[in-house]
């Protein structure tokens, strides 16, 4: 299954906590998630790799991931 790369830049602590909480579920479907260190202004680049047919919306329906 092809892997697709998605990104979102986030800053709300609740969003980051949700990403971290979903990490194992993402890995169980063969995907991965990486949080870059926060920028000086507090933004965190989140990179999500998911195999088809999984989509970011399956895990985070309201977070703004887009296909890179």
């Amino acid at each position: 299954m092809p892997l697709r790369v998605y990104e979102a830049i986030l800053s709300l602590p609740a969003s980051i906590a949700r990403i971290q909480a979903a990490q194992r579920a993402i890995e169980r479907v063969g995907g991965s998630v990486k949080l870059a260190p926060a920028t000086s202004s507090g933004m965190v680049l989140v990179t999500l790799v998911l195999p088809d047919p999984h989509r970011p919306q399956d895990f985070f329906p309201d977070l703004p991931f887009y296909l890179v």
């Binding site: 990104e7 969003s15 920028t39 680049l45 703004p64 887009y66 296909l67």
Partner: protein
């Protein structure tokens, strides 16, 4: 939520080559077509000195053409938010216009005036502050915080299905009896073949990120749908090109600059070749210099009041 078709349109997103983001300072960017673009957002317009200059030029042009920085009937607002504040120009001018108000600018990119301040040249009024944040994630403010919430020229940053969420967020952080205002544009109309071709490529390029440029003309509908009251929409046909005199020439230059800025994305997506794009852009520039071309840019100012 489905509002006026929002959320119901299927748009096929298309990937770019997934090159890793590069880090300049501590911020992630991706260089496409030789221009630096912020990583992590669907917005495809570059973020570099050339774009800062264009945004400031656009600000002064719009203020001149519209004879002011806002249209809503404001009465001594005590707190103002500018969402997608870019270079911070609008927010800083509003802070000077309303010295009794606290004015905040929100963007994913800190404005150049912040880095200038770190270098000792602080042009920021005391009642202005920048707050980092991604509008598409949600605004980092409590409910009912601002008397006036403003957003401008973000149509290329907001995927189609996110519009109700975005306008809902603007309403959420606005106080009862406060105002939400938006200013957006849509495709150039009445252009020649080259301008029409560029508009078609622009449409195709934005669609790869789920963005529908025509949504710029529908913000008033979304305002009504999410519950704002007293919604007023002013549709202006701004002459673009030689036939529009000074403003028309400024507008034409702004369009040529933004289309050139997006060209790297259009080419990277395989929508057209670099040679075709450059040739068409030059032909469009000549079309806009022709006094007989009656090209217009539709501009929509929408404002609505939070009534409860």
């Amino acid at each position: 939520m489905r509002l006026f078709g929002f959320g119901s349109r299927q748009i096929a997103e298309k990937p770019l080559a997934a090159d890793p983001a590069i880090w300049q300072g501590d911020a992630p960017f991706r260089v496409i077509g030789g221009r630096r673009r912020k990583a992590g957002i669907p917005y495809m317009v570059p973020w570099d000195i050339e774009e800062h200059n264009r945004l400031d030029f656009q600000h002064f042009m719009l203020r001149y053409a519209l004879r002011g920085n806002y249209a809503a009937p404001l009465r001594n607002p005590s707190s103002i938010l500018d969402v997608g504040s870019g270079t911070g120009r609008w927010a800083i001018e509003m802070a000077n216009t309303f010295p009794g108000a606290n004015v905040m600018g929100l963007d994913v990119n800190p404005p150049p005036v912040d880095s200038q301040a770190e270098e000792g040249i602080d042009l920021r009024p005391a009642n202005y502050a920048f707050v980092p944040g991604n509008l598409l994630e949600g605004l980092p403010f409590a409910d009912r915080t601002f008397d006036f919430t403003h957003m401008r020229a973000l149509v290329t940053a907001i995927p189609h299905e996110r519009w109700p969420f975005v306008i809902g967020e603007l309403m959420r952080v606005t106080r009862p009896r406060g105002w939400v205002e938006s200013l957006e544009v849509t495709f150039l109309q009445g252009g020649g073949p080259a301008i029409n071709q560029l508009m078609a490529w622009l449409d195709a390029t934005l669609a790869t990120r789920g963005v529908v440029f025509m949504n710029g003309g529908r913000v008033g509908d979304v305002m009504r749908a999410v519950g704002l009251g007293h919604v007023t929409v002013r549709a202006l046909a701004m002459p673009c090109g030689e036939h529009g005199g000074r403003v028309g020439r400024m507008l034409a230059l702004d369009w040529i600059t933004v289309l050139r800025g997006l060209s790297g994305m259009t080419i990277a997506q395989g929508i057209t070749s670099e040679a075709d794009f450059d040739q068409t852009l030059e032909a469009a520039r000549l079309e806009l210099e022709s006094p007989s071309l009656r090209c217009i840019m539709p501009l929509y100012i929408a404002f609505g009041q939070r009534t409860r």
